[in-house]
Structures are given as structure tokens and as C-alpha cells.
């Protein structure tokens, strides 16, 4: 049976079609899920895509965490199924308390859209399981609030528990510990600021995002088999 992946659409989301295309290019089956959906039953994984959910009013993710779909997202996270937040999705996961810390405005107080170099620093997560520690990836970032921050104890925990999955090689936004992505203890809930769906083929300049998406699909398959 082919895995079913849901991509949540909040009003103001804008990367949902790009994530569908990226997953489709790897042969996966993905579908859009409207933010008022009460249940995510039948889905094997869920992705919260980038964009500006609910206009990023108040602050990114602050309203989206109250969308009805978040109950189902939380249930999936607890059940051990993959939950991935990309960019705005990462911000929503932190607001919803599914990942620790917060994303504040970039150092320099400007929006940044550019391709950056990342280093895989943990293979604990569903997104990096298939990669090598230390592996370098070229993937675009596209955010105003991507400057990861958390309290000292949380940072210590993240480091000790090997939950920082991606770091910037040349920190573009002031993120604490050069953090570009983290996961929960089980590794099934992942948040990252870079957009892997934007680097899926040579025409777009890099296909390194396909490593991350490919790892996710392998994990979903294994979970299903298991």
C-alpha cells in the first residue's frame, strides 16, 4: 500500500503546492488537507508547509496553532508518525508546543531569501535518517523570522539528545547554535527553516532537498511495514 501524506493548508499558506510537487517527483502520494479538518485518520504523515498561515498576524504560528487541524497533528505526533514543519510550519510547531523554542526575527531585521549551506548534525530525525552526519547540503531559506532561540536548558537538552538535525555553515539569521532544524526525542516531529522542496532538481540549482524528502519517504515506508 502506498503511503498517504497530508499537506496542511491554512489560509495564507503558500508552499503547499510546491511540497506536493516535490513529493510527487519522488513518486509519493500526497494530498492537501484543509486547516479545519478535525481528523487526520488514514494519513501516514503530515507536513505543515511554508507561507504565512493566517497572515502571520500577531506572530507567525500564533493563530495557526488554534486551527482545528492542530488537534489531529498533535495526535499524529504522539502516535509516532512523521510530522514535519517547513519554515512557517516549523514556527507553527513551536507555537503549538510540539517542538521547543521559538523563531524570532532575523538578526539584521530583514527578510532573507537565498540558498545557504547546511550541515547534517544528527541522523535521529525522519528527515535526516538516510543522510550522513557532516554531510553538506545546498538548500534555500526564505524567511523573516528564522532566528531560532530557546532557553539555555533546552539548548543543552537539544544538544545532548542529538536533536539538532541541521546547522547553518554560515549563520544567516543569528540562530542560536547555528540551528536550522530540530526534532523531538523520538525523531518523528521535525521542524526546519530551509525549504527542501525548493531544491529538488538541477534546474532549480540544487537537488539536495531530495535527500531530506527521500529520507522522510523511506521512514514512512518503514513505519508502515513495522
Amino acid at each position: 500500500m502506498v503511503a498517504r501524506i497530508g499537506v496542511v493548508v491554512f489560509p495564507g499558506s503558500n508552499c503547499e503546492h510546491d511540497v506536493l510537487l516535490a513529493l510527487g517527483s519522488l513518486g509519493a502520494r500526497a494530498e492537501l488537507v484543509w486547516h479545519t479538518s478535525q481528523s487526520l485518520a488514514g494519513l501516514d504523515a503530515v507536513i505543515l508547509p511554508g507561507g504565512f498561515a493566517h497572515g502571520d498576524y500577531l506572530r507567525p504560528g500564533a493563530i495557526a496553532r488554534f486551527s482545528p487541524v492542530m488537534a489531529g497533528v498533535g495526535a499524529m505526533a504522539r502516535s509516532g508518525k512523521p510530522v514535519v514543519g517547513i519554515c512557517n510550519g516549523f514556527q507553527i510547531l513551536t507555537e503549538a508546543g510540539l517542538l521547543p523554542g521559538a523563531l524570532q526575527k532575523n538578526r539584521g531585521m530583514r527578510f532573507i531569501c537565498k540558498t545557504v549551506q547546511l550541515e547534517v548534525s544528527s541522523t535521529l530525525s525522519v528527515l535526516t535518517k538516510g543522510l550522513k552526519r557532516g554531510q553538506r547540503l545546498q538548500i534555500p531559506i526564505n524567511h523573516f523570522e528564522g532566528n531560532y532561540t530557546c532557553d539555555a536548558r533546552t539548548l543543552c537538552e537539544l544538544e545532548e539528545e542529538d536533536r539538532v538535525i541541521l546547522r547553518y555553515v554560515d549563520n544567516p539569521n543569528g540562530a542560536m547554535g547555528d540551528i536550522a532544524g530540530i526534532c523531538n526525542r523520538a525523531g518523528n516531529v521535525v521542524g526546519l527553516m530551509p525549504h527542501p522542496e525548493r531544491s529538488m532538481d538541477e534546474l532549480s540549482g540544487s537537488k539536495d532537498g531530495a535527500f531530506l524528502m527521500g529520507s522522510l519517504l523511506s521512514c514512512i515506508d518503514q513505519l508502515e511495514l513495522g
Partner: protein
């Protein structure tokens, strides 16, 4: 009765009926000077009386004032715009609709438009630019197209003035804040500085959309009994008179000094609208879903002149009339006058024409996207003479507050043949004596220590040209330029190349190339030849990514049309554009005219901005781009040039002292036939290469020669690839800095050189071997020897310092 303050009188239903005409909602008759306050002159007022056969009331006058404004009616330029060629085999919709639409095959079309938001951006840079983006997006999705790309042409005053820095930071922030959030990538543009834009910056925004041809919808209110549904934001008092008071008059007051006295422009700030990208995002999704489901027969955005424009234009296009219930319009504020409701330019609103039985389905889509919708109008038949009337009522059965032939607001607008007078002497920005300047080292202007340390005058001139152009990356790195995964070549190259696809429209292998270009220096010297050359440059840019041009849009930014010299510039520019378009067989599918760009009585340099759309049939590999690959042989295609007139080198580095006037300077001459051949050759060469994913590239780098000349062209290629070059045979300033846009520099893989040369020569294209790409220095023998790091620092420093917080 003598009050001239309409806001003193509260909104209410008049109690008397007047069979001679609609009641006056203000309760006051026409006040003799009122039309002048609204921007109409006495002749225009007389024309309105002739149309109505009576005095207009206040509401009617307000609607004529906005619709007959320069901005909405093109009254000074219409006569001249007719000379532009607008037909072509791909043209589905030409100028006059919300956007031009071109057939690109496979049942897919693209919609494209460019518009200015200069005056709002001068006063309130962030919101002015943001609403410029919002407005152009609506022009595109109102045609049924999904907006997939925005490009911006930005012209600012020099950044040593803090106010210009404030303007630039606000404009870039507004485009970034609105564009990123609304979910449409900003994929390119241009950035330019000159003192004439101090106090009157130019912010031109181009938008491109993609649609299945069958989703094309026009802004027509057809079908008697159909409903006009207003969707989106509530209507407020923002932007009232935006098109007339703000966009159709110049800035008279102190504009750049930032002195202590109150700026005259400050009083115009309430005429600037405020944008909400989240509302627009939901509106885009709702409208496209409504059109996909066939729930609307017509769609019209509300922009300049608000509801007055949207209701009258949709009715006029369909030959119908429309009844509008002004009491049904959801308002942000209480006690708004009908004239305010009808002319408000509140953003993020659309008008859909809907069959009554489909209303509930449309409302359901709106509910899902959290978009407000209200029925505010009904399509009514024309009278027995075939005249469709726009009737504004308070309540469906309430008083008629205004009754105007709908078409008279747009089609009967005045059309002026304003006096045209060539200037006695062309104001020279570029006059110089070659003999003199050859010996003069550049002095006077401030310059970084890096520049001063450089050994030769050629090197230091080149560094200054790089530095003063500004770093476009500072701008475009603040824009999402990748959304929708279409971006094959992003900002910073000759042209942008996008996969032709959009959500719901899968990619089939082709791509669209886009470039926006303006060159006020050329146009100031010779508006006709300068505009033609600008078209040529834009076409060459598109060719450099493999695109063959299929359509053109333009934004004509000029000074005060009441100055005969400005009208001469406009008329000449239009003729120059027409000539170039004919040479390239390129239809003009849309345009915008922005006049009254002046401050303190000084007109801006004529700045026609040209947007060219090109097509590449098959893209399997990225085009080579403006890069150098070590080992490649560098060729220049096209006739070598040595005329410096109008160049950045002459204008910016060596302006003549004294009067700055001369009559004997001519812009470089351009053999358009040769440029057509060159563009075709280059486009073919690159298109062949990108169609194959596997073959070894023949062309390893490509860049057209334009602003800054060959020197800047080579430096840009070096900076982009961190690879140097050794070039020889360049004789001096003339060959290094001449800008005539008829040359392209190519890096060719050594084994393919003879083959490329033979092909070019066979097509009558002159080929000059320049040298070879290698190392980490740009060496132009006997002239320039610079480290690439030095070039990069010169480029990055000025903006980084200007905006260091």
C-alpha cells in the same frame, strides 16, 4: 447651501425627489469651484454638463473627477498610444483590458501587465510600494490567471540623502512584506539611481500570470439581471482621490532637503492606501476557485477610482447599465458619504458579475476562504437609445443619487492633443569632449579608499561604475524569488527564466523569459532613439537566456504633460518604441502611463520602462548565465562601439561643468536590423543548448553589453562566477564604456569556438575575440587590472554602509 465641505453633511436618505435628475446626496447644489478642487478644469466641467444635460451633483462630479483623471483616462497620452503596434498572432487580449494575454500554446496563456506606483511611494514608501504590488496582482487574477511572478523597476535619488535612503528602504520593505506574504515570487527587476528621482522615485511593478485559456474572463457586466458582488475588504476612507489628487499632479513643495518646514506632500498622505496581503491572498484563491467552478461571468478588480470605475467599466464594456446600491457596501467607518464609498481606493476588493442562481455557490467559496461578499449591484438593460446608465441608489428602491451614462465615465473622457515642443537644446546629461576627458582623471566625487588605491584611471572608473550602480542582491535577497518552483534563472542575471507552470497547470517543458529595462540617460539625450535602444536591450536580455520575444509591456514615466517639452519626449518615446517593436515584430500588449513625475518644478528624465516576455520551447538545463568559466574563450558578438554619449561613464563620472546644455550631442546610433539578427542568433544558440540535458555546453557564459559598457559587462561576469579573465585589444575609454545595446559577450568552450564563429559570421554578425577566462583577476590589457574581491567589495559596500543599522 454655500458650504464647500461635503463632510459636514451627514449621510442620509434625501427626503425629496427630483424628477429633473438625481437628488444631491450632499444636499448642496454644485459649488462653482468644486470641480477645480477635484482636479477637473472648466472645459471638462462643461463637457460633463453637456453629457448630462444638466449640472452634475456632488457625487456625479466626484465620479467624473476620478475617472477623468490623467491616471484613469490617459487623456494626455491616449492620442499617442494609438501609434503603438498591438497585434500579433499570439495576442488574445491587447491593451485596454486589465492585462494583456498571450497564447503560449497547449491551451495555456500568459497574462502580463506593468504599472507604476510612483507618487504613493514618494509619500509613504512602504505602503505605496506594497499596494503597487497588490494592485498589479489583481489586474492579473481578474483575467483568470494565477500570478506567478512580479518584477520591479526601481529608481531612487542618490543615497547620500537620508530621505532617499528612507524611501528606498521603505519601498524594498513594502515589496518584500507584501509580495512574500501574498505568495507571489518577486523574480527580478532593476535598480537605478539619479538625482532627478529625488522627491519622485519610480516604482514600477510588472506581474505575469498563467491561465488555461478557457479560464480567461473579462471585466464585463453582461446579462440583464446578473448581480454585481463586491468581494474582499470593507470600504474605508483610504485612498480617496488617489488617482486625481495624488497620481495626476506633480509635487510642488520641497522634496529632497528634509528641511524643517512642513512638506507639501504630507497633506497628500491620506490619499495613499494601506495594503493587507493576507486579504489579497485569500481573494486570489477565492477568485480562481470561483472561475474554475464557472461561478462568475465577469470579474473586475477595484483599483484607481474604486467602485465608480469597476461598476461603470464593466457595464460600459458589455453595453449595459448597472444599478448600484451604495447602502449595501460594507464599510469600515460610519457616516461615509456616497461619493466616498464610490471613489474610495480601499485595497483588496474585487467585483464579480454573477448569475443569480450561482450566487449561493459563490458565497460558499467566499465563506471557505474567509472572504467577505455582498451583492452591491444589478445589471440593467440600456435605455431605448442604447445608453447604459450607472445609477447609484440608496437601497434598491431608494433614491437615485447619481445617474450617469456608464460609458461616459471612461469612453467619453477627454483626449488632449497637448502642445508639443522639442526643447531648443537637448538638456545634456552626457556631453563631454573626448579629448578633454581622456586626460582628466576622475576627481571631485567621494570615493572609497579602495578606489583611490587603484593604479589606473580605467580601473578606478570601472570600480566607481560598479559601486554607483548599487548591489541588486541587497534588494532581491529580501524577496521570495523561488515560490512555485518555477525559477530556473532568478534575479541578478540578464533576464529571469521561469518554468511555464502554476498550481493546477503542470509543467510541460517550456519556459518564459522576462526582463524589465529602462535607461533614462539614453532617453534624455534622444527619447526616440533611446526608447528604441531600451527595447533592443530588453530583447537582448531575454535572448541571453534563450528567449525569443513574444510580447511587450511598457510603463511610461514622464514629467508634467503640461510642459510641451515633456509631451515631445512622450511622443518621441512612443514613436521610438513603435519603430523598435516593428523591427522585432513584437506586439505591445499593455502599458501604463505615469505623468506629473516632477518635484520642485523639475521634470524627471524621460523614463520609459520596457518589459519584454520571451518564450523558450524546451528547458532541460539551466542557461549558462552571466558567468566566466576558466578556460573559455571570450567572444564579443555584434559591431564594436565607441560612442560614449548617454553612457553611465559620461553621465555619472564626467558630467560637463557649467550649463549642462548642448545641442550638438547625439545618442549612439543603432542599426536595428543588425540587433534583430543578433538577438535571434543568441536566442537560438542558448535555446539549443538548454533543450538538451546531456550534451556538453558550448556556451559557458553570456551577458549583453549595456549600462556601463563592456567594462561593467566583463566585471559582472567575473563577480558572478569568482573567475577572472584576460582581455586584450580594447583601445580605451570609448570601447570600454560605450553602451550601445548591440553586443553580447559569450564564453565559448575552446573546442566549439570555430563552429560558433562560423555560424555567427554566416548570419552577418561581426565577431571579435576578446580573450580568455582564467584566474581571479579581471585584466583588460593596458587598461584594467583588478582583483575580483576588489570588484565585489566595491559593489557591496555602498548599500551595506547606507543601510547599516
Amino acid at each position: 447651501m454655500n458650504s464647500s465641505e461635503p463632510s459636514d453633511i451627514s449621510f442620509g436618505v434625501p427626503s425629496t425627489t427630483d424628477t429633473a435628475g438625481p437628488v444631491d446626496s450632499t444636499g448642496a447644489g454644485h459649488i462653482p469651484s468644486l470641480h477645480r478642487q477635484m482636479g477637473l478644469d472648466d472645459n471638462e466641467f462643461a463637457a460633463i454638463r453637456a453629457i448630462l444635460g444638466r449640472d452634475p451633483n456632488h457625487l456625479e462630479l466626484a465620479m467624473y473627477a476620478v475617472m477623468w483623471s490623467e491616471h484613469c483616462s490617459y487623456k494626455s497620452s491616449r492620442l499617442h498610444l494609438r501609434r503603438l503596434p498591438s497585434e500579433g498572432k499570439r495576442v488574445i487580449v491587447g491593451p485596454g483590458e486589465n492585462a494583456g494575454v498571450l497564447d503560449v500554446g497547449d491551451g495555456i496563456a500568459i497574462a502580463v501587465r506593468i504599472e507604476s506606483h510612483n507618487h504613493p511611494s514618494a509619500i509613504e514608501p512602504y505602503q505605496g510600494a506594497a499596494t503597487g504590488v497588490g494592485g498589479i496582482l489583481r489586474d492579473i487574477f481578474t483575467m483568470g490567471a494565477r500570478p506567478i511572478a512580479v518584477m520591479d523597476s526601481l529608481y531612487f535619488g542618490p543615497l547620500d540623502n537620508p530621505r532617499n535612503r528612507w524611501v528606498m528602504e521603505g519601498v524594498v520593505g513594502g515589496i518584500s512584506g507584501y509580495g512574500n506574504s501574498v505568495g507571489v515570487p518577486t523574480v527580478g527587476g532593476e535598480l537605478s539611481f539619479a538625482s532627478c528621482y529625488e522627491g519622485n522615485p519610480l516604482v514600477n511593478v510588472l506581474c505575469l500570470g498563467v491561465l488555461p485559456v478557457e479560464r480567461l474572463v473579462l471585466g464585463r457586466a453582461s446579462g440583464v439581471g446578473n448581480l454585481a458582488v463586491l468581494m474582499g475588504s470593507r470600504t474605508g476612507r483610504d485612498g480617496i482621490g488617489g488617482v486625481s489628487v495624488l497620481a495626476s499632479a506633480g509635487f510642488k513643495g520641497d522634496s529632497g532637503g528634509g528641511g524643517p518646514e512642513a512638506r507639501a506632500e504630507d497633506s497628500k498622505r491620506p490619499s495613499v492606501q494601506v495594503g493587507d496581503p493576507f486579504e489579497e491572498k485569500r481573494l486570489i484563491e477565492a477568485c480562481l476557485e470561483i472561475l474554475d467552478a464557472g461561478l462568475a461571468v465577469g470579474l473586475q478588480d477595484l483599483g484607481g477610482a474604486g467602485l465608480a470605475c469597476a461598476t461603470s467599466e464593466t457595464a460600459a464594456r458589455a453595453g449595459m447599465g448597472m444599478d448600484v446600491d451604495v447602502s449595501a457596501v460594507p464599510l469600515r467607518e460610519s457616516n461615509m458619504e456616497p461619493y466616498e464609498v464610490m471613489t474610495s481606493e480601499s485595497q483588496e476588493r474585487m467585483l464579480a458579475i454573477v448569475e443569480p442562481e450561482k450566487l449561493s455557490a459563490l458565497e460558499e467559496v467566499c465563506r471557505r476562504w474567509e472572504v467577505h461578499s455582498s451583492v452591491v449591484g444589478r445589471v440593467v438593460p440600456p435605455d431605448q437609445d442604447g445608453i447604459g446608465y450607472l445609477r447609484v441608489r440608496y437601497g434598491w428602491k431608494g433614491q437615485v443619487l447619481a445617474e450617469i451614462p456608464a460609458a461616459s465615465l471612461s469612453q467619453s473622457a477627454p483626449c488632449y492633443a497637448r502642445p508639443i515642443q522639442p526643447p531648443a537644446k537637448v538638456k545634456s546629461l552626457a556631453v563631454f569632449q573626448t579629448e578633454k576627458t581622456k586626460q582628466t582623471s576622475s576627481t571631485g566625487a567621494k570615493r572609497s579608499s579602495r578606489v583611490a588605491s587603484s593604479s589606473s584611471v580605467y580601473s578606478s572608473d570601472l570600480l566607481r561604475l560598479i559601486a554607483e550602480a548599487g548591489d541588486p542582491e541587497w534588494v532581491y535577497s529580501q524577496y521570495d524569488h523561488q515560490l512555485f518552483l518555477n525559477t530556473v534563472v532568478g534575479p541578478g542575471d540578464d533576464a529571469t527564466l521561469l518554468r511555464l507552470a502554476a498550481p493546477g497547470i503542470p509543467w510541460k517543458g517550456s519556459a518564459v523569459a522576462l526582463s524589465v529595462d529602462g535607461n533614462p540617460r539614453w532617453c534624455a539625450l534622444d527619447p526616440r532613439a533611446g526608447t528604441a535602444a531600451t527595447v533592443a536591450e530588453s530583447v537582448l536580455n531575454v535572448a541571453c537566456v534563450g528567449g525569443r520575444p513574444i510580447g511587450l509591456v511598457n510603463c511610461l514615466n514622464f514629467g508634467n504633460p503640461e510642459h510641451p517639452e515633456v509631451m515631445w519626449q512622450l511622443s518621441e518615446a512612443i514613436d521610438g518604441m513603435a519603430e523598435a517593436c516593428r523591427a522585432f515584430d513584437l506586439p505591445v500588449v499593455g502599458g501604463n502611463v505615469s505623468l506629473y513625475n516632477e518635484s520642485s518644478g523639475i521634470d524627471i528624465m524621460p523614463t520609459p520602462v520596457i518589459g519584454v516576455v520571451g518564450l523558450v520551447d524546451q528547458v532541460a538545463k539551466r542557461p549558462p548565465g552571466a558567468r566566466l568559466l576558466a578556460g573559455s574563450v571570450l567572444l564579443m558578438l555584434g559591431t564594436p562601439q565607441d560612442q560614449l554619449e548617454g553612457s553611465r561613464w559620461a553621465t555619472e563620472l564626467h558630467p560637463t561643468q557649467g550649463t549642462g546644455m548642448a545641442g550638438d550631442t547625439a545618442l549612439f546610433s543603432l542599426d536595428m536590423g543588425r540587433v534583430v539578427g543578433l538577438a535571434r542568433f543568441v536566442a537560438e544558440l542558448v535555446a539549443e543548448q538548454v533543450a538538451q540535458s546531456t550534451t556538453e555546453p558550448v556556451v559557458t557564459g553570456i551577458h549583453d553589453v549595456s549600462a556601463g559598457g563592456l567594462g561593467v559587462c566583463l566585471a559582472e561576469m567575473a563577480m558572478r562566477s569568482s573567475t577572472g579573465a584576460v582581455v586584450n585589444g580594447i583601445s580605451g575609454h570609448e570601447e570600454l564604456f560605450s553602451e550601445a545595446p548591440c553586443r553580447v559577450v559569450l564564453g565559448i568552450s575552446p573546442s566549439a569556438v570555430s563552429q560558433v564563429v562560423a555560424r555567427a559570421v554566416a548570419q552577418g554578425i561581426q565577431v571579435t575575440e576578446l580573450g580568455v577566462a582564467r584566474g581571479d583577476r579581471l585584466v583588460i590589457e593596458k587598461l584594467v587590472d583588478l582583483d575580483i574581491e576588489e570588484l565585489l567589495a566595491a559593489r557591496k559596500e555602498p548599500l551595506a554602509l547606507a543601510f547599516a543599522h
